[in-house]
Structure formats: structure tokens, C-alpha cells
Assembly symmetry: C2
């Protein structure tokens, strides 16, 4: 769609104009820095951007979008680059627009339970600040220590707590965004209700930087629950774990976290000497229950424990305080890296199936593993039916795309979705037509053209052209 | 935008083709029926449609949209016609597409807590059916005994329970919709998480029949809470009620219902002899607390009661069972009609302000009432800051638009929104530019053109052209 040579030419003129507009020092062409902007936490291969801008404010963001539009330069918005689907990597070059310098918490409104933030605020830092005010921002993507709220909103990030609290989308009341061309819009509201016009906010959430660049975000908060208990439950088999999880959900319990780790993951954790993983452990459940009544939380902890015992759990570890809770989380925290160490290559998908289809998913994954002779461990947010399915292999010549396609086809045959958290970006765009009809993709592309007629904002993402 | 004579001509040819396609008897031109389709529960004046179709299935809906597109005929989708903003009334004539005949509950999936319904299912009937299965669909617009789920989704309906459970949007996992032209799309998912592509579902929710016509809706359900208590709390003043509500919210209590009725409303209710309204009552709070633990619900009832007593309540009525609960709801149920009886004319707006701004809103409304010499009673979903503000007058020559504009300007000065539940439709379209910038409205119109280039789907709604 875009020729590299034309973009190179456009970028030269664009860079000169931009330097005059926002200052020489703002426009980065240092190849070492540009190299960093050519990768993220996915396995996608992007290309180097021609240049980069670390914007300091909304005016600079708007200026980049206005001039890029004028000169025909692709713009790739970028937060901390922690994405797993290549959303922040240039596909055609152009300019990377880094928003991590916009890191102010603009406003905290305790009475109305909302905060206004700039896109570059680190999620974990925001959460810590809110907690010090007695407030709680639940979405907790795995990368929360380094990812930005702007990136979270662009990808509608999830995390373990989504089972009780929902994903990022549920917490975005409104955004302020610059469109390609530099115009600013402020869809949304500061109230919990509001139905004036189309829900443009919801459209921007999860649009992966292809419709606009956030300059400000209004987030809904809740009050920090006063009580919290963490449970780590070693299970004798995956089936037993599945049964326990089904009983927990069917029993109407809503733990804020309900995580599952399969037998392969447990074997790796056992080798690492992780606490709680014994010889007879063949699956793990990690759960957290919170609330404002100590008695109520304790009762739910007992109920959950009992359901797990009825499904075969022999020992259950419970912790209520910081350090002790962190020990129980150790298994979950080290898992991804520990898995990666077991093989030369790893890809990780983030599929979702209707909760009741989990046993069929796990059985199907075992067949796929056997068929291709690769390890396919999975773990994830069992309460939501959201599993991180990994493919591990050593042979440099092995091409995992057939395995990945089989995993997606299995998922879709169970009426699931190919991505629950990571988004489509570059990594899943060839697979989107497996899930969505040509009509539906056509509608999305028409929306894209409506907001970005030149197609210059994060081009090459989500849709194959 | 559309000339009546041209539409009349187009409709003649369209009617012939449509009769050949879906059968003579399906196409309605009986003026008595068409007259019914020229009104809804708003005070808007629409025009008669040229014809109407009571579709029986998706194929007929798609056929109407395909042929209307071909002949240039405006299409006005319609549920039960209970809307309050004129969304279902023709503005240019054309064909009314009535979807109330599509009234099947297609699927109930208890394990995954979802149901698939056709758009014509009556909300209250759906809720009753779900409750008989131990399931709960929370959104409860006031018209739930007659309104349809299709209409609810088209307007993102709210209701008293939104304070705890959120509005319709939170329960729509996916839709199946026919676009102008007849193409079908199925955005959304059957899982609680999913981020594949843009959130087209969220865009369709609340689009007021201007982007597509729903043929099927996938709704998220929750489990029926086992415990429920209703409280009616007469308060000595509006200020005392406001203080109590602020304390309830600040205390972290989340009753599922938290309604407020002001002094003017109370006076009208007192004249009606409504139970609980005494001489010293000058405001009312109606609250409901639900949950799965009797003890927990009882404790919250006591907490809420205590906060109200601390703010001046002398007597609190509590009920736990059907008939007794209904008695406490009597005030809320009769209120709208009782108010209407007190004057020859009434308009009702549904504004929202950030919760903390409620005292300033009520004070401002009193000033407006005094300035214009009209009664401006208000009641509503105080927990959400969502107030139904009424203007009552007797003089046939009085024009309420200046009052309405002042109410909206007051609302927006408090950083609220002009509509929390009813939508923009015809009634609020002149006021949308008070709330939203030209850029934001432009983006929405661009999205509209992307999905409906001919502008034939529910034309004249939301946007002034």
C-alpha cells in the first residue's frame, strides 16, 4: 500500500517542517533509538521507523498528526512497547509517536470516583497512587509494572482480575484523542450514564492506535476493597481443576481472580522448586477473593476451598497479606519466563472459549500437541474462559503457523475468539477472517476510512489490505 | 434532505417490489395503522410513514433494507414505540420496519450465562423467563412491561438498577444486524472477553436505529441474587435526602436501586394518598439492596437505614417480599402519571450530572422554575446522578424550549450530559451541539456515512443536517 521510497522522501520534508514546528531536539533520527522502536513484546518483525517523536504534550501530538497527514507519512502511536501483537511496530516505516512522556495524573475526583490521566502514565504506578487514596483501578495486565494506560486503552487490556471487575473498556468513561490530521475530539463523559450520540469512546477503546492517538483518558474507579485473600490450590489432575473451576462459577462465587495452570506448566514449575507444587500436583488453581466484609470474604474462601477439596484438592494455601500473598503468586509470575526457558522457541496465543468449553479446549490442545510433536502448555484466566496457549519447540526449521492456525480453528469451533487480550495487530491479522465475515471486516474498514481517509494512522494493522 | 414527493414516488415502486418479494399481506398501507406508527412516547411530532412492514424474520428485514436501498426509501426501525426521544417516528416518511413480531428467545445457555434473543422480545417477559431459570437480566427501563429488547439495545436503555448493575450496553455481548442494503453482520462474541477488531457491537448499541437493524442479540446474564430488600425512606428535606445519598455512596454501599424524589413530587404523591408520605415528608429515597447472603444484605440494610437516620429520617419502611415491596414502589410507579395530571402540559428530560453536583443541580433547577414561573419537579436515579427533570405548565401559549435549554446548559455547566437514558432522537438533536464539539459530531456523521452512505436508515435522527 505504501512504497518505502515515497515514505522516505515524505519523511525528509516532514522532519524539516516538524523541527520548525516543535523544535529540533524533539525529532529523533538516532538509529539506536529507532531500532528499539522496531520491536515490542510480540514475535512480530516490523521495520525501522524513519524517525520518532517523544511528544511532551497534546499540541505536539496534534502537530505530528497534522503534518504527517499533510506529507503522507505513516504514524505509529506507541506507549511502552509491551504489546504482544505488534501493534506498536512500524509496518511501513514513517514516524513512531511515543506518548510515554505524557505521564501526568491530571485529576483525581474521589467524590465521583474518576481520574483523568495522560496516556503515558504507567498502569502500576497509577494503581499504587490510587490505592494510597483508597481508590482502586482493577485492570491488571501482566505488564502492569511497565505498560502505559494509553496502551491499555488502545488494546482494551485485560488481566486476571477481569473475572470480577471486567476489562479496561469498563473503566474508560471518555478519552481525548487526536485524529489523523490533528483534529481533537473528546468523546465520552464524566458521569456513569450517558447516551448522547454514538459510543465513540467504546469504538476508540481497543482500536489499537488505528483511529486516533489518546491525549487524555477519563477512568472510572471503584473503592479499594478492604478484605483480600489469595488461595493457591494444587490439584491432582487438569480434569479435577476443570471440575473445581466449573463448580466455583456455577456456585455463584465471583472471586476476583480465578487462574488455571495446566500439567505441563506445573512440571516446569516443579523443576523450578516453586512452593506448593508437589509430586502429586498436576494442575494449579490460583484464586483471590475480595470484599468489604471480613466475614463474607472468609466464608467465600471456605466455600471455594470446599469446592476444590470436593474435586480432589488435598492441600490449600491461603494468604491474606502482602508478602505471603506474593509467595502464592510466585507460580503465576515466573511461569511465562520459566516456560520460555524450556525450549528455543515459544509463541503464545490468548484465545477465549465459552467457559463450559474449557474441557474440550484442553483435550483439543493435547491432540494438536501430539499431532505436531510440540509442547502446547496453557494457563490463564479460567473464570473468563481466557487461556494463554503456548507452543514450544527447539527445531529452528519448524514453522509454527500450522499449529497456531489449528489452535484458532479449534477455538472458533468452540465458538470462542482468537484474542481475548492481546489484540490483532500484526500477529493475528491473517487469522481475523477465520473469525469474522467479510461483511464485518468491511464495516470496520469503512469506519477506519471514515476516521482516517488517508490510511496513515498505524497502517498495516488489524486488517490485511 | 429528502423531498416528500420523491419519497412518495419511490415508495410506490418499492411497495410493489416488496410485495412480490415477501408477499402482499406483509406490506401495510392502512392509514389507521400508519397513524400509530407516526407517534411514540415522546412529545415529538413526526410524519406518517408511507407504509409499514411487520417483519416476521431476518430475511424479511434484510429484504426491506435491500429494496429500500435500491429505491431510495427511508427506513425507520421500530420496536414497541415506547421511546421518549422520537427515535421510532418517521421524520421524512418512508417505511416503518416493525420488528415486534420477531419475539423468540432463541437460546438460553445457563452454563455460560447468556441468552440469544430476537429483537421483538418484551423486556419484562424476558426477565420473567430468565428468573424462572434462576437467571437475572438487570436492565429495567420504566417501560419494561411493553418495551422490546431490540429497542433497549438501540437506545442503550437504563433504569433504576443501573447503579449496581450498569446499563444495557454492559449486557450486550454481540448482535446480528442488517445494514442498509441488506448485508448482515454479526459483531461481538459469546465469551465475556474478546478484542478481535473494533468494538462494532458497542457502536451499534445506542445508535438509535441509524446504523443497522438488529435481527438477533446475545445478552449476558447474571445469577438471580437470592436476597432482596426494598426500603422507602421519607426525608424531612431535599437537602437531607441529598446528604443521605452522598453518605450512602461515600460509605461504599452499592444498593441496586437508589432513587430520589423531590419536594414537588412528594406534594403530588401526598395528595394521591401514597403510603409513606406524611406531612413532614419533603423528599423520598427508594432503595433496594440485593445479594446472596441474608446476613450481608441485612447488615447493609441496617447501614443504609442508619445513614438516612443520621441525615434526619424518622421512619423507614422495609419490605422483603413481592406484595410488600410493590407497596413501597407505589410512589415511584405512579409518580410520572401523577405529575402529568397536575398540569395541562409536561415535558420530561433525563439529564445526568456527576454525583457530587446533585445539590447544585437541584438549586439551579429551583432558580429556573422561579425565573419562568413553571413547576420543575425532578426525580430519578440519584446513585447515578441521573435525574428526570420535568417542566409542567398550563398556559397553551407557553413555549418550553427556553426552559429546556436552560436545564441543559445548567447540566453541562456541571459537566453532565443532556441524556442518560432516552437518547437524542428527534427531541434532543438541536441540543447535541451544546454538549459535543463540531469535530466529534463530524466523526459520528462520518461513521454514519460509512455504514449507510445513502443516509436512508432512520434519517433525521440524532444529527441536525
Amino acid at each position: 500500500m505504501f512504497e518505502r521510497s515515497k515514505i522516505t522522501q515524505a519523511c525528509e520534508q516532514f522532519a524539516l517542517r516538524l523541527q520548525r514546528t516543535i523544535g529540533d531536539s524533539r525529532v529523533i533520527d538516532d538509529p539506536d533509538i529507532l531500532e528499539q522502536y522496531a520491536t515490542d513484546k510480540s514475535h512480530c518483525e516490523g521495520v525501522f521507523p524513519h524517525l520518532a517523536v517523544r511528544a511532551r504534550n497534546e499540541q505536539e501530538i496534534a502537530a505530528v498528526l497534522r503534518l504527517a497527514s499533510e506529507y503522507g507519512v505513516p504514524v505509529v502511536p506507541r506507549g511502552a512497547g509491551t504489546g504482544k501483537s505488534g501493534g506498536a511496530i512500524p509496518f511501513y516505516g514513517g514516524v513512531v509517536l511515543d506518548t510515554t512522556r505524557l505521564k501526568s495524573i491530571v485529576e483525581i475526583d474521589k467524590e465521583n470516583l474518576l481520574a483523568v490521566v495522560q496516556p503515558g502514565v504507567i498502569t502500576g504506578e497509577f494503581q499504587a497512587q490510587m490505592e494510597s487514596e483508597g481508590l482502586f483501578y482493577p485492570p491488571d495486565p501482566n505488564s502492569l509494572e511497565s505498560c502505559t494506560l494509553g496502551g491499555n486503552v488502545a488494546h482494551n487490556a485485560g488481566g486476571p482480575r477481569a473475572f470480577k471487575y471486567g476489562v479496561t473498556r469498563e473503566y474508560v468513561l471518555g478519552v481525548r484523542a487526536a485524529l489523523m490530521g490533528g483534529e481533537l475530539i473528546s468523546p465520552g463523559k464524566r458521569t456513569v450514564k450517558g447516551v448522547a450520540g454514538y459510543d465513540v469512546t467504546a469504538l476508540m477503546v481497543g482500536s489499537e492506535g488505528t483511529l486516533g492517538v489518546f491525549t487524555e483518558i477519563t477512568l472510572k474507579l471503584v473503592r479499594t476493597p478492604t478484605e483480600l485473600s489469595t488461595l493457591l490450590i494444587p490439584m491432582p489432575s487438569e480434569e479435577a481443576a476443570g471440575m473445581a473451576i466449573a463448580k466455583i462459577v456455577a456456585g455463584g462465587l465471583v472471586p476476583r481472580v480465578l487462574e488455571f495452570m495446566d500439567g505441563v506448566v506445573v512440571d516446569v514449575l516443579r523443576q523450578k522448586g516453586i512452593a506448593g507444587v508437589s509430586k502429586s500436583t498436576h494442575a494449579l488453581i490460583l484464586a483471590e477473593i475480595d470484599g468489604n466484609s471480613e466475614m463474607h470474604v472468609e466464608r467465600e474462601v471456605l466455600q471455594l476451598a470446599e469446592l476444590c477439596e470436593n474435586s480432589g484438592a488435598e492441600e490449600i494455601f491461603v494468604a491474606k497479606h502482602g508478602g505471603d500473598r506474593e509467595k502464592l503468586w510466585a507460580a503465576r509470575r515466573v511461569m511465562s519466563d520459566a516456560l520460555a526457558e524450556t525450549a528455543k522457541h515459544k509463541v503464545s496465543e490468548d484465545i477465549v472459549v465459552p467457559r463450559s468449553e474449557a474441557p474440550r479446549l484442553l483435550a483439543g490442545l493435547k491432540k494438536i500437541s501430539k499431532h505436531y510433536g510440540v509442547s502446547v502448555p496453557s494457563y490463564g484466566h479460567a473464570g473468563d474462559g481466557n487461556y494463554h496457549v503456548n507452543v514450544l519447540w527447539d527445531d529452528d526449521g519448524f514453522e509454527p503457523s500450522a499449529v497456531v492456525r489449528d489452535i484458532f480453528e479449534l477455538t472458533l469451533s468452540l465458538r470462542g475468539t482468537i484474542t481475548g487480550e492481546h489484540g490483532v495487530g500484526l500477529s493475528k491479522k491473517p487469522y481475523l477472517p477465520l473469525e469474522q465475515s467479510a461483511n464485518l471486516i468491511g464495516v470496520q474498514q469503512a469506519i477506519k476510512r471514515a476516521l482516517d481517509p488517508s490510511g496513515l494512522l498505524n497502517p498495516g494493522k488489524i486488517f490485511t489490505e
